[in-house]
């Protein structure tokens, strides 16, 4: 299937013959993104000029990921490595060095003002900047600039793709704000297992309270759990959320003891595969905001 696509693209390129320097499909720029959300951004900006691989695949957790030799090989042949930065991929610099590749590295969060991390985590700043849609536009701009630097011949394509995608993101941003505005202000707070939503909370005014620290590695103590239950009871928090990567049993227990509603799944750190609820970034944000609305609306 991929080969047929490649041939079609090649035929199309030759036939159109607008620019003699057109890259053929085999000469697509190889880009490695550390996780699926970044890969989706790269795909949207690069279009068919790039071939994107995500090191940490769908539904996996970038916090506790360990690279395999195959990943080192992928990086060694890549032209560009897109990372999130803000301390999310502590393992990556070593991997790039040991793979012996010549890839340029770009941190997609360049220029984003980082939030302080919630207490109890391991990073100094909260790395989950992509959860606020305005930040996603900065990601896209950084990726566009990096792609243009590597492949100047296609600068215009990248600019057009990025502009189109940015317009989609702006529409998405308005959509999210409209949904949040419909939720009564005193109900705009939820509990979630993994506080990856700091930027979302700051941008849209929905309070996220987590029983665990930012990293999914730490194990909660009885005190943490008791505190969170007491807090839900006291502040009458309407809903608790499961995520696609941490222990759902813990959240079910909290829900059982507080009569809070279990609000479905919020996607935070990774997209799902094609069949799941969030195969692209825009799908993910839409899914999350719909899930929030269902849980918090009366």
């Amino acid at each position: 299937m991929r080969r047929i696509c490649a041939i079609l693209v090649a035929v199309f390129c030759v036939a159109s013959a607008l620019t003699p320097m057109r890259l053929r499909a085999e000469e697509r720029i190889k880009v490695v993104a550390t996780f699926t959300i970044l890969a989706d951004f790269v795909r949207n900006v690069g279009g068919d000029r790039v071939e994107v691989t995500a090191l940490v695949g769908p539904d996996a957790d970038a916090h506790v990921y360990t690279p395999s030799p195959a990943d080192a090989k992928t990086i060694a042949t890549a032209k560009l490595v897109v990372v999130n930065g803000l301390g999310l991929e502590g393992w990556l610099p070593r991997l790039v060095k040991s793979s012996g590749g010549t890839a340029r590295m770009v941190a997609a969060t360049d220029g984003i003002v980082p939030l302080k991390e919630a207490p109890g985590g391991h990073h100094n700043v909260d790395p989950h900047a992509w959860q606020a849609v305005p930040n996603a536009k900065i990601y896209v701009e950084n990726i566009r600039r990096a792609l243009a630097a590597i492949d100047p011949a296609s600068t215009e394509t990248y600019r057009a793709n990025a502009a189109r995608y940015r317009a989609e993101l702006e529409a998405l941003d308005r959509e999210v704000r409209a949904v949040v505005a419909r939720i009564p202000p005193d109900r705009r707070k939820v509990i979630s297992t993994h506080d990856a939503f700091g930027y979302f909370a700051a941008a849209y005014g929905v309070e996220f309270i987590a029983p665990l620290g930012v990293s999914t590695e730490s194990e909660p103590s009885a005190r943490d759990l008791a505190k969170i239950i007491a807090q839900i009871r006291k502040e009458k928090i309407p809903a608790v959320f499961l995520e696609n990567i941490t222990d759902p049993r813990l959240i079910r227990r909290v829900a059982a003891e507080t009569q809070a509603k279990i609000g479905g799944t919020l996607y935070s750190d990774s997209l799902t595969d094609e069949k799941g609820g969030a195969p692209t970034y825009i799908d993910m944000v839409r899914h999350n905001i719909k899930t929030l609305q269902d849980a918090l609306d009366k």
Binding site: V56, D61, A222, A226, R249, E257
Partner: protein, 289 residues
């Protein structure tokens, strides 16, 4: 005041009551197993078996997702396979039990890691395989209680040959052929209780609640019955005190329980009535008739 510290957490929060029930059930079954492991100089076997079980549980997860029964069943199967194979080799060849067990558990671990990575998911299996003592749902609690009940019943049946095999296996072989089946049944119990511990304690520390209480008991009693009683009591006490520590001190619960057991162990080593260090350094006067 004391009520606030020791009892109120359990009255106020259901998860504390569930955790306590789980840890007591674990103590009832696991601690006697630990005593026999210790008496048979197999204390580290528990640890080896824990590693043998993991791959089975991982495969269960890959086949049917986060399903308690599939994972338990996979773990039991892998554990039994390793226990039986190493038992067969040990009893029929020159190779000793520990060496053959080491071989098979490493093979099991390697196989498990291979299968898991072939499926290519990077979900942290530790989060999936291990439960959390603070998040025991009805299903998990029932599985733990059921396994504990089965363990105690089987123990009652094999108790006599098991004790004899601990103190004088050659004698047992001359009077009965129950040795091998007893050993197998015992290893099966070890596996069941380890799987149990995973669900509850949430880490490899599950082994700790089996072995540490046995070590403690050794310093306070000379006969097996006494040891078992003390082991169960100290396991349950560690569980309770660990939960209280986790509640007030903010320590993760699994490690808290094992740390309390470790403190009890150190105290026992120092002050134990039977061969405790203090006892040896300052022996009492010889009693004379």
């Amino acid at each position: 005041m004391l009520h606030d510290i020791l009892i109120a957490p359990f009255l106020e929060f259901e998860f504390m009551r569930r955790a306590l029930a789980g840890v007591v059930a674990l103590s009832l079954a696991g601690a006697p197993i630990g005593v026999f492991l210790m008496l048979r100089r197999m204390s580290l076997v528990g640890d080896a078996m824990a590693h043998a079980i993991l791959p089975g549980a991982a495969i269960g997860f890959l086949v049917s997702g986060l399903n308690l029964f599939a994972m338990t069943f996979g773990g039991l199967l892998a554990g039994f396979a390793v226990a039986i194979l190493s038992g067969v080799v040990a009893r029929n060849t020159e190779l000793k039990e520990d060496a053959s067990l080491a071989t098979f558990y490493l093979a099991s671990l390697a196989l498990g890691v291979t299968i898991v990575s072939m499926r290519g998911t990077n979900i942290d299996l530790l989060h999936v395989l291990f439960g959390n003592i603070l998040a025991l749902d009805d299903q998990t609690l029932l599985v733990i209680a059921f396994n504990a009940t089965v363990t105690l019943l089987v123990m009652a049946v094999i108790y006599r040959p098991l004790v004899i095999e601990c103190v004088d296996p050659v004698f047992l072989r001359t009077v009965s052929r129950a040795g091998a089946p007893t050993h197998m049944a015992f290893m099966a119990l070890v596996v069941i209780n380890l799987v149990n511990g995973f669900h509850a304690l949430g880490t490899l520390l599950a082994v700790g609640l089996m072995i540490l209480p046995a070590g403690i008991a050794r310093f306070w009693s000379r006969d097996i019955t006494g040891m078992i009683v003390i082991a169960v009591a100290s396991a349950a006490l560690s569980g309770y005190a660990g939960l209280v520590l986790s509640y007030h001190g903010g320590v993760p619960s699994g490690p808290a329980i094992i740390l309390v057991a470790t403190v009890l162990y150190v105290v026992s080593v120092l002050f134990g009535r039977v061969s405790g260090l203090l006892r040896q350094w300052f022996p009492g006067r010889h009693l004379e008739a």
